[in-house]
């Protein structure tokens, strides 16, 4: 994950904004996506994730600001951007009345790929997403997971350097979600593709992304690796139970470099530390060297949930409960967008 840091950015966004009627859907966001990484946009529904993706894939014209995608400007060179990126939209966009195969060939034709190339390529992609048996069935007979995989295959037909995935696992069951994650990782690791995805599932961002931008009400509140985002909220929690209640070694533990805070309560030390897995052995050694006996120990990593709460001031769950508000906002945006 660290080797990607030296790569040139494949997406460069500066002060990008989009206003629909009165609603500022995206408000002056700036970020970079490095070649070869999985970059995630994390935020609740209506935060501006899809709007940003739509601007980067040239479906929407930005109200202001600039974006370079694969080295091309989305304002002046939209066609080159379209040629170089793949898009897997949030909705199921395949034509239900056609077979999966006809759908993907249609996509290939729209990219101007010659049939001599697109036919074998489509076959490969169907194999990749494990749809080869269903290729000649009408899409209306596909399950949700199969459709999602078909969308993925269609998004890959033009050999994109960069693939945009808008909520790739929205509404999928656990099994299909795991499969989609597998494909996403495979694209990065075996095909060295750059992936840009949006999600409102914290565990998805955590499991897949090299770097995450937390977006809330059209603003990017924080960008970093999942570990960085979590580390900034105060580090890991180590709880050590000691048989003897004296002597108190709190002050000595606090001197360990990675440790940030120590509290002792009835022979139980609650320690906040950076990189808990490195701090723990040092703490153990120290306690033992004072002749004390450790009877239990636990290490808890903070979750992105907490990170999200820290940065936006409200939790994702909270946001999701106010569904009516969210829904009306989404409807507004849909209408405005189309």
């Amino acid at each position: 994950m660290s080797e990607t840091n030296t790569e040139a950015p494949i997406v460069e966004v500066t002060n990008l904004s989009k206003t629909f009627a009165k609603l500022k859907a995206v408000d002056s966001v700036s970020f970079e996506v490095k070649e070869g990484e999985i970059f995630g946009f994390l935020g609740p529904n209506g935060a501006g994730k899809s709007t940003t993706i739509n601007m980067l894939t040239t479906l929407l014209k930005p109200s202001s600001g600039n974006a370079q995608v694969c080295g091309y400007d989305v304002h002046t060179n939209a066609n080159e951007v379209r040629r170089n990126v793949g898009v897997v939209p949030q909705e199921y966009t395949a034509d239900e009345d056609m077979t999966g195969h006809n759908n993907i060939i249609l996509c290939a034709d729209l990219y101007g790929l010659p049939r001599s190339n697109s036919e074998p390529h489509a076959e490969e992609l169907f194999k990749l997403v494990e749809l080869e048996d269903a290729a000649n069935r009408k899409v209306s007979t596909y399950s949700g997971g199969m459709r999602r995989r078909l969308e993925l295959a269609c998004g890959l037909i033009n050999y994109p350097k960069l693939l945009f995935l808008d909520e790739p696992t929205l509404g999928l069951d656990v099994q299909t979600r795991a499969a989609v994650w597998k494909y996403i990782r495979m694209l990065k690791e075996e095909y060295h593709m750059t992936l840009f995805l949006t999600t409102h599932y914290l565990e998805e961002a955590d499991a897949l992304c090299d770097r995450i931008a937390i977006i809330d009400h059209g603003h990017i509140v924080r960008i970093g690796t999942p570990d960085e985002l979590k580390a900034n909220i105060g580090g890991d929690i180590i709880v050590v139970g000691v048989r003897e209640s004296a002597p108190d070694v709190s002050s000595e533990i606090a001197k360990i470099q990675l440790v940030k805070d120590v509290k002792k309560n009835n022979g139980v030390y609650r320690i906040k530390a950076e990189r808990g897995e490195e701090a723990t052995p040092e703490i153990m050694d120290l306690i033992r060297s004072r002749g004390l006996h450790v009877i239990k120990i636990s290490l808890t990593k903070p979750t992105l949930d907490e990170a999200y709460l820290e940065y936006t001031g409200h939790s994702m769950r909270e946001e999701e409960t106010s569904r009516t508000q969210m829904f009306s906002q989404r409807v507004t945006m849909r209408k405005a967008r189309s």
Partner: protein, 303 residues
């Protein structure tokens, strides 16, 4: 945290990579002409239509019912003969009113325009559905030019309209249309003028649908435009028997020009205008509307 389990990454089928990496990387030479994708998009819509014979059948019912019921029931010939006079006198009356002795043949030409008008009207509907189902967004994220997207919608509608018109013409002949004036050039000319009308009308309806997301509005627009376009034309009834104010409307209605030309070419009728004027008017109509459609597509398809 368990979700981040690195073993998940190891489950990938390794054999896939070696075979496919090369083809993934080396993208082939692509067609970058501004018209690429036109046939792919047109064919997509046409295939949906010919793969679904029910749709074709249903779309033919209306003009055939009009032909069969209206054309046979509104027997102006009987009306005229009931007034008495010799056969020659009666024929002269019919000729002066309809330009032909058979009302059924007169109506059949009108029905060609009718079926084209209705097919064109629904071209806008398919834009609305493509937008609703997200297909349009998919197309717009590819390097296909916006003008091509609109042209494909127009062309598929023109193709359908002309094929349906041909079927209606065949049925009309079976039902007793006067074929004594049919010539190869006449039929070819008729379809050329129908092509121009279909091109213009389809562009109009596609344009009206470019920004629309709901099909109810689109239905309302179709009803609002179609009935006046049929009734305020010479499709069902000759212009010269209409009140003066209506005649002005009929004279700007492109449907009238198509009917006028079709009757001259298929029935040898004396037209209201010369063929050159009919063709000129519809050519201008078709060029103006299809050009406007393409220009609007640049502005309206992306926001």
């Amino acid at each position: 945290m368990a979700l981040k389990d690195p073993t998940m990454q190891k489950e990938q089928p390794k054999e896939v990579s070696s075979n496919h990496e090369r083809s993934f990387m080396a993208s082939p030479k692509v067609n970058t002409s501004p018209l690429h994708g036109l046939w792919a998009l047109t064919h997509r819509d046409l295939r949906k239509w010919y793969m679904n014979p029910v749709q074709l059948f249903v779309s033919l019912i209306q003009p055939v019912v009009w032909l069969g019921l209206f054309g046979k029931a509104m027997n102006f010939g009987a009306f005229v003969s009931g007034a008495g006079g010799t056969q020659t006198q009666q024929n002269a009356i019919m000729l002066s009113m309809f330009g032909t002795t058979s009302y059924f043949s007169f109506l059949a030409c009108g029905m060609l325009a009718f079926v084209i008008l209705f097919t064109a009207a629904f071209s806008g509907m398919s834009v609305v559905f493509d937008r609703r189902f997200g297909f349009l967004n998919k197309v717009l994220s590819t390097p296909v030019s916006r003008g091509t997207v609109v042209m494909a919608k127009v062309l598929q509608s023109v193709g359908r309209a002309l094929i349906q018109a041909a079927i209606v013409l065949l049925i009309a002949v079976v039902l007793g249309m006067d074929t004594s004036h049919f010539t190869i050039t006449g039929i070819f000319g008729t379809f050329s003028i129908m092509f121009l009308m279909a091109l213009g009308l389809s562009s109009l309806y596609v344009m009206l649908a470019l920004r629309s997301t709901d099909w109810q509005t689109q239905m309302a627009i179709i009803n609002l435009l179609n009935l006046p376009l049929v009734f305020a034309s010479n499709a069902l009834f000759p212009t010269k028997l209409m009140p003066n104010w209506l005649q002005y409307i009929v004279k700007v209605n492109p449907v009238s020009y198509a009917n006028d030309a079709a009757r001259q070419l298929l029935l040898g009728a004396t037209g209201l205008n010369s063929l050159a004027i009919d063709f000129g008017y519809l050519l201008a109509f078709a060029i103006l509307l299809s050009a406007t459609g393409i220009v609007l597509s640049w502005r309206l398809l992306s926001k």
